[in-house]
Symmetry: C2
Subunit: 399 residues, 2 copies
């Protein structure tokens, strides 16, 4: 992948023994060279991990300097000691970085097992080590992207560049997540970095808008986690504010495309997944309602098991659309599966089931297109199929 | 089981070739000797099968005479022809029964595969045969209870009797359902029969009230079906109206207990299920909100796979409660699993994980008790665990 990195950031990813397997990276550090603008979008779960409480208080903001992320332990449901540990992580980062950085300029993310206290000695060693390994090369960026993973099979990264009258702007992002996935981000962590110049309110508004059509449109099993965090960090190193006229539009589009690209990598790598499922809904009254129908269909265990079995079982899809919390007109329902029409205006359409099944077997992505009426609303949702491997993986004794 | 049947009904269950496996019962007929009061509660899916449309128009009513139920084909998503077929079934029943019964006095239920037209010749033969086999013995009742099954492993029946100042009242019920289960009844069919004397509005009010705390509190995979139907049919043959003072209370309690007994049999027999999961929630603002929290926890695939693995993974339970659409206070959350406290007031409690795991392994039912605050609201939800067998079963190519 030809990956351009935005100016003004340095990265490190190290192993410090939080994860059981020795040598596995489990701590990442991202540092802005100057004060950076930072926005955040967080889980909607009412049970939130300590680092989420901390980050919510510090974003949006205009003088952030670092994000520290550990994997292997979520620091969730850990009470007051968990809150203190999250604050202590910011102190450790500030001390390791020096240069007058204050702990209040540091954000924290954690992901992993719930209900265990953080191994703070290991984390202190890891932060110290990461601070010494910071670099601005692609290898540094991918090491950080590796340090945030849990059950993911591989790193999830992407980038975008755009030319504006004021100069080139670059965006790069990393994400993690494979299980306990939303919607509304679930156990998903993401960092989007850009060298654009943004003020905190702009950054927050943009990030919320793109999250709603990207990271909030994915699920693996629909279990909203305690730790979801998506951060946008703008270094301003390009000295270019993209937020004027055409350039603004272009920046938002690139940000959205990058978030969608990263978001789709999560269900594609869903625990045990054999297919990425894309459900696209059109004809709803509003975009939000279209997304709601798409989410309902993409979250149905019966739809997910049928797709695992390469079975064009359209009755499960149509009936799932029917129980979405959005008024639809069943007589206007039309369904295409991998481009083939199976149902039109409330009536079955004869089709070559063997051929559709084969196209499901041969493609890693299954595309479900639903027309639910004549409204202008469009939306989508991505999920993974439900496989024997998913159940095996998640029923292994982990407590 | 010592099963008393209410006076005033006759039953039959026959095989007529709707199901692929020869000789498997797939049609049931229940006939009231006199005009009976009838109430109904139906799926909340917007895509509804033809028999649901028909039944909704005819209940509540005071002069119903018969219910015909076929399994093996849901007559759902079958357009206008499906509507005509459902009406034709009522004509066939009226003709087969004779004695001046009008087709408008007949109700229809169907369950099975979606999107196929009913094999009406087979159904005509089945109805004729059932009409000739009607009887009031336990064997007739159980034959009917068998005729309504699809992927169920066995019949689901129950009964209750109560003494009232006006004489004895008997209630008996049959249900089916193992997959595509709710909440809100999903592919569940149920018939409750009583010899009490009820008027239609009373019957409807009672049935809705008990459905909300029984059949609407179960799920297997949470996929609300197109065909759910629960009917209460009161023959009045006991000449006793239970609806006065203590007797009314007692009747409602027995009706509720019968419905809960039948409802729990559904997730206990959930496709591939290894455990029945009972989630009991207390301390919510209202009963309805308590049920909503219970439903959210009991529906989580992560909770369901953990229970399959006999894993007391309380983080998954607590985080599921946190994303329920009900405001809870995480600092007041307390959790017991099979009677053992694992979490109290937002903090983990040390416990013997091996011992709790063993109790999960040894019991077919796993009991989750959650205290979510200090409110008066109590509620429950029953579901089945998510197993490798469930996924295998539902990913087999069936279209």
């Amino acid at each position: 992948m030809d990956l351009q990195l935005p100016r003004g950031f340095r990265y490190a990813g190290v192993a410090c023994g939080i994860k059981k397997r020795a040598g596995k990276r489990d701590l990442a550090l991202i540092v802005a060279e100057q004060n950076a603008t930072c926005a955040g979008v967080y889980t909607r779960n009412q049970v939130v991990a300590a680092p989420v409480v901390l980050c919510r208080q510090r974003t949006p903001g205009d003088s952030l300097r670092a994000v520290v992320i550990n994997s292997g332990n979520a620091n969730a449901c850990t009470g007051r000691r968990g809150d203190e540990d999250a604050v202590e992580m910011t102190r450790l980062v500030a001390r390791a970085l020096g240069r007058g950085i204050d702990p209040s300029q540091v954000l924290v993310m954690s992901t992993g097992v719930i209900g265990h206290y953080l191994p703070m000695e290991k984390i202190a060693v890891g932060i110290e080590r990461a601070a010494h390994q910071l670099g601005d090369q692609l290898a540094d960026f991918t090491a950080a992207a590796e340090g945030i993973l849990t059950t993911d099979k591989g790193i999830k990264i992407g980038c975008r560049t755009l030319a504006t009258p004021g100069g080139r702007i670059t965006l790069a992002g990393m994400a993690k997540g494979a299980g306990m996935i939303g919607p509304n981000m679930a156990t998903m962590l993401g960092c989007i970095l850009t060298d654009a110049r943004l003020d905190p309110d702009q950054a927050q508004r943009l990030l919320q808008a793109v999250a709603d059509v990207s990271f909030n449109c994915i699920s693996v099993e629909g279990h909203t986690s305690t730790n979801d965090t998506l951060i946008l960090m703008a270094s301003g190193a390009s000295s270019t504010s993209p937020l004027r006229g055409d350039a603004e539009y272009q920046f938002v589009e690139e940000l959205k495309e990058l978030c969608i690209e990263l978001a789709k990598q999560i269900p594609a790598d869903g625990e045990g997944a054999a297919h990425l499922i894309e459900v696209a809904v059109a004809g709803a009254p509003t975009d939000e309602q279209a997304r709601e129908v798409a989410r309902t269909v993409a979250s149905s265990n019966l739809v997910k098991t049928a797709i695992y079995g390469n079975d064009p079982n359209w009755g499960r899809i149509v009936s799932a659309a029917g129980y979405a919390p959005v008024a639809i007109d069943p007589r206007k329902l039309t369904l295409r599966l991998n481009g083939v029409e199976l149902f039109r205006g409330g009536e079955p359409v004869p089709f070559d089931a063997a051929m559709v099944s084969q196209s499901m077997r041969e493609n890693a992505e299954t595309r479900v297109e639903l027309q639910v009426g004549n409204g202008p609303g469009k939306g989508w949702h991505w999920s993974s199929d439900l496989t024997v491997e998913y159940v095996r993986f998640n029923s292994e004794y982990t407590t």
